[in-house]
Amino acid sequence: MNDLPFSFSGQDLRALGTGALWWPNRNLLCVSDLHLGKSERMARRGGPSLPPYDSQDTLTRLAADIDRTGAQTVICLGDSFDDLDALAALGTAEKLSLTTLQAGRQWIWIEGNHDPGPIGLGGSHLAEYTAAPLVFRHIAQPGGQSEVSGHYHPKTRLKARGRTITRPAFLLDHDRLILPAYGTYTGGLLSSENVLIDLMSDQAMAILTGSYPQIIPMPR
């Protein structure tokens, strides 16, 4: 899978086709909205019993990205767990995978709206994290600068020779970078929705994920 280099707040960053962000100079990998335990939470709440393989799949993909980049620091940008009970209910295999991934590197859990402070797992739990000049937090703040966030699960849609193509996407402008959702069972919010149009500047760009990530002016 290819990646796409771009510059944000003076830093050389790479958007991976998987939806992860890679910062080579800091050996830092950032993923957002893993929503581990989503299927368990839906069943618990009386919903359909979805295939219970989502956490395993998300972690397998994350392991591949960590392996490929050799990241020394991993930031999970919030909503890493679908809720705190989902964390408690995580299978032994998944917990073991997580522990293996954490071994030998710095691991940072940013709080999300679904998972205020995961407990009982290794790594540091923070409301936000600064690796100057960048600030990592779950939800973009008004007036935020050099801010890397998630939460919105952005996706974007464009037409090419009559074909409509929809992909999860990074959104990028002068002040902020919003990551797509990384979890297997996640949907997306179109960049043309008002909340994202309002959040992003007129010059915003979108980076479409996929085998060959592409950068385009953010469709609105």
Partner: protein
């Protein structure tokens, strides 16, 4: 009862009517456990069905529900209620007749459960819902008869399978329940009888006099039909002339989009201001009801319509049916024609209007088949297991159940008579635990087995969710269309979500015969304004797309062998001759493949004449092989005759693509990843209860919370490929969309006789394929190339240049 009660006979006499022989026979058989009546439209079918009910209610006091009537259409239930009220009052029967459909008010529905009427008219979905309530045994106690109207239509769909499971439930509650099916003319009445009967009880078939042969012809027009296109705009002057010469004309179209275009065009040419209306399933309910009411009053001279008028509502004095576009299926044509001239024993009159020249050939073939009384149809396999899963959940919603009893009950339903216990247990396990090889939901099982062996819902509140998601009709995701609020906010109808996504503000499209301008999307409603000055984009409606029967396809191939075609109009004969001249005509024992550039893409057209489903599968298999060979296919579309594949590069030698061994070998793995399987999975997963369409309130609000069913499919494929739903998806695909057997038959028939013709442009025979709906995208290398091109273009346009 041996005799029709005197007060009913008196009523017939007072009307000056006599009882038809088939009505008498249905009465004589009233005590049989199951009876199927085959009668043409206008044959007094409804009265034949209800006569025993009226007689029994006239002779005996009956409290509570006596007869259930089930029809595929809500409108039909309401129509029958009106048509039954008159006779009941005139005969002097103090009985309550009520309908119950999705349109019935909540208060009325509640009251019906407490105090049911004597006759309840309903739909399969509403009946299934009724059986899901805990008080179902009380409500249905004492029911004597169930009448299934238009059973030939229901027997073709999962709605019918669901209905038969509901009847099995009813029969357990009321062991003396007698079943009656009312059917139009069909090719295999025994199959419908097996479908209806309580297995293994017998079901007698009563055949009404089919009446005289219909008078069907081709419409004579001044102008020639075009080479391609589905609008039939050329025929409008001739159609208007026919409308003037008749009292009321029904103008049938095969798709909603075609009906919209035709309606738009006919109004532009309607200089005499003839009152003409439009009716199809995507229009707002109020709009449809207005048209229906005007029709019944006799205010309309013509209605442009689709299959939404196929079923037996009595539209008054229709004296002409015009079929625009090839009828695709002789049986349906004959049934549609029956809509004209409701007087029994008078020939109905119909005109066929081919939309293009290929359809001229199809229409002539259909005419010949109708004259020869050759009805067509494919037998349907046993009942699908996704419907079974839904029914298990419905049973659980009604209360705790015993698995043995439920299995015994389900196998009395015709479509599920062959169900094995192992299959049933797999479905039960799926409903209870999810049925995954990873047992993850021990704590959160949907169904639990109690100490006494009965199964029940773990969380009783789940019953409500099950009821909200009941049904087998698959709506493609549609969005409501309404005029922008400050201009009235009037609802106009619905369009597919994918179509709405392709619109940008300022785009125009047709809906309900109006051109409207897309203004924006607001709370998942498409807002539009009226706009009459621009040429419209066309709304893409899903509507049912009929497949041409194999019998018709064979007739067409036989026609192609003729040296010339005296039975065809000159223009069409010339067109076929041109095809023969420029390329070739397809033959039964050879395979014709054309290759040509068109509109910046390279095309490959494969004339297999194997039927739509097999041609579809061929499209899947061929594009997959092309992708592997680096031939960059972008997508394909299939008809009953051909598969058209387009891509970025020309295929110079397609022969190696057709090795049967290679095709067969890869079938399973190839099928796994394609869009058709995902579409099939989505439908089955929704019916089986894995995907909830309605979760009450939270739907559509948080878009990022919902994710595509494709993700579930991909996950199962990767981690649990033998899961029950994957099996169901494969079975569904094999029965419906794959039909690999016919590909094998075709390839064996043609052997190595493959003719590849390279052309510099589209051939006469290939041109209509470009307008087919149901294009299947291939997401491969070509899409990445397109994306790169388009990004480049957008960056240039934004003045950002390429790096």
């Amino acid at each position: 009862m041996t005799q029709i009660p005197a007060r009913i006979m008196d009523w017939f006499d007072a009307k000056g009517w006599s009882i038809h022989p088939h009505q008498q026979e249905m009465f004589d058989r009233a005590t049989d456990p199951a009876t199927l009546l085959i009668a043409p439209t206008g044959g007094g079918k409804t009265m034949a069905g209800f006569l025993p009910t009226l007689a029994e209610l006239a002779e005996n006091d009956h409290s509570g529900l006596h007869t259930l009537y089930v029809s595929p259409l809500k409108a039909l239930a309401a129509d029958i209620r009106r048509n039954l009220r008159g006779p009941a009052d005139e005969i002097g029967l103090p009985i309550r007749i009520e309908d119950r459909t999705g349109d019935t008010s909540a208060t009325q529905k509640k009251r019906q459960r407490v105090d049911p009427p004597h006759i309840l008219l309903t739909t399969p979905e509403s009946l299934a819902l009724l059986t899901s309530y805990e008080d179902a045994p009380r409500m249905f106690s004492g029911v004597q008869r169930v009448i299934v109207d238009e059973i030939h239509a229901l027997a073709e769909s999962k709605r019918g399978d669901q209905l038969m499971l509901a009847l099995a439930r009813l029969q357990s509650l009321c062991p003396d329940l007698r079943r009656v099916g009312l059917s139009a003319t069909v090719e295999d009445p025994n199959a419908i009888a097996r479908f209806l009967a309580r297995h293994p009880d017998p079901c007698q078939i009563v055949q009404a006099d089919p009446g005289p042969d219909p008078d069907i012809r081709m419409l004579k027009t001044q102008e020639m039909p075009p080479w391609s296109g589905g609008g039939a705009a050329y025929s409008i002057p001739a159609v208007l002339e026919q409308i003037k010469q008749h009292k009321t004309t029904l103008i049938f179209h095969n798709t909603r989009a075609q009906a919209e275009i035709f309606f738009h065009n006919i109004w532009l040419a309607n200089d005499d201001g003839l009152p003409i209306g439009i009716h199809h399933g995507s229009l707002d309910r109020q709009q449809r009801e207005r048209v229906e009411a005007a029709m019944v009053r006799g205010d309309l001279r013509a209605i442009v319509c689709t299959g939404s008028l196929d079923l037996g509502i009595d539209w008054g004095d229709v004296d002409l049916v015009i079929q625009i576009g090839a009828p695709k299926n002789v049986k349906r044509l004959v049934q549609r024609i029956g809509r004209a001239n409701h007087r029994y024993n008078a020939p109905s009159k119909a005109l066929l209007v081919p939309a293009n020249r290929f359809e001229v050939v199809e229409c002539v073939a259909a005419l010949e088949a109708a004259k020869a009384h050759e009805l067509d149809g494919e037998p349907r396999g046993s009942g699908p297991k996704d419907v079974l899963c839904q029914h298990i959940l419905v049973a659980a919603a009604a209360g705790p159940f015993d698995a043995n009893a439920l299995f015994a009950e389900m196998t009395t339903a015709g479509p599920f008579a062959d169900l094995s216990r192992a299959e049933f247990d797999a479905c039960l396990d799926f409903c209870a635990t999810g049925g995954y090889s990873l047992r993850a939901y021990d704590r959160w099982q949907r169904l639990l087995q109690r100490q006494d062996g009965q199964w029940q819902l773990r969380d009783p509140r789940a019953a409500q969710r099950i009821r909200m998601n009941l049904g087998t009709i698959q709506d493609t995701d549609t969005l409501k269309v309404r005029l922008k609020r400050n201009r009235g906010g009037k609802p106009l109808g619905e369009v597919e979500e994918a179509f709405a996504a392709s619109l940008t503000p300022g785009d125009t499209f047709l809906i309900g015969g109006q051109i409207v301008r897309y203004e924006g999307l607001r709370e998942m409603v498409v807002e539009v304004s009226r706009r009459a000055d621009k040429k419209p984009k066309i709304a893409t409606f899903s509507g049912t797309k009929f497949a041409t029967s194999t019998q018709l396809s064979d007739r067409i191939l036989r026609m192609f062998i003729q040296p010339d075609w005296p039975q065809l109009p000159a223009h069409t004969a010339e067109w076929l001759a041109l095809q023969r001249d420029m390329s070739r005509l397809p033959q039964r024992d050879r395979l014709l493949i054309e290759s040509f550039p068109n509109d910046g893409r390279e095309n490959l057209c494969v004339y297999g004449f194997a039927g739509r489903n097999a041609q579809q599968t061929l499209g899947l298999l061929l594009t997959k092989r092309m992708e592997e060979s680096g031939l960059a296919p972008l997508g394909f579309v299939a008809t009953d005759y051909a598969t058209l594949i387009w891509g970025l590069d020309a295929v110079t030698d397609p022969r190696p693509l057709f090795q049967l061994d290679a095709l067969r070998e890869g079938l399973d793995t190839w099928l796994a990843g394609n869009a058709v399987m995902k579409r099939t999975f989505r439908a089955s997963a929704t019916i089986a209860g894995l995907i909830e369409r309605n979760t009450g309130g939270q739907r559509k609000s948080g878009r990022q919370a919902t994710f595509s069913s494709d993700i579930l499919y991909d996950t199962l494929l990767k981690y649990d490929p033998d899961h029950l739903l994957m099996q169901i998806t494969r079975e569904e695909a094999m029965r419906g969309l794959v039909d690999f057997g016919r590909i094998e038959a075709m390839i064996e028939r043609i052997g190595d006789r493959i003719d590849v013709v390279r052309l510099d442009r589209v051939s006469p025979l290939a041109a209509p394929l470009f307008l087919e709906v149901g294009k299947v995208p291939v997401k491969g290398a070509a899409e990445e190339r397109l994306l790169a091109e388009e990004s480049e273009r957008l960056l240039q346009a934004a003045g950002l240049g390429a790096k």
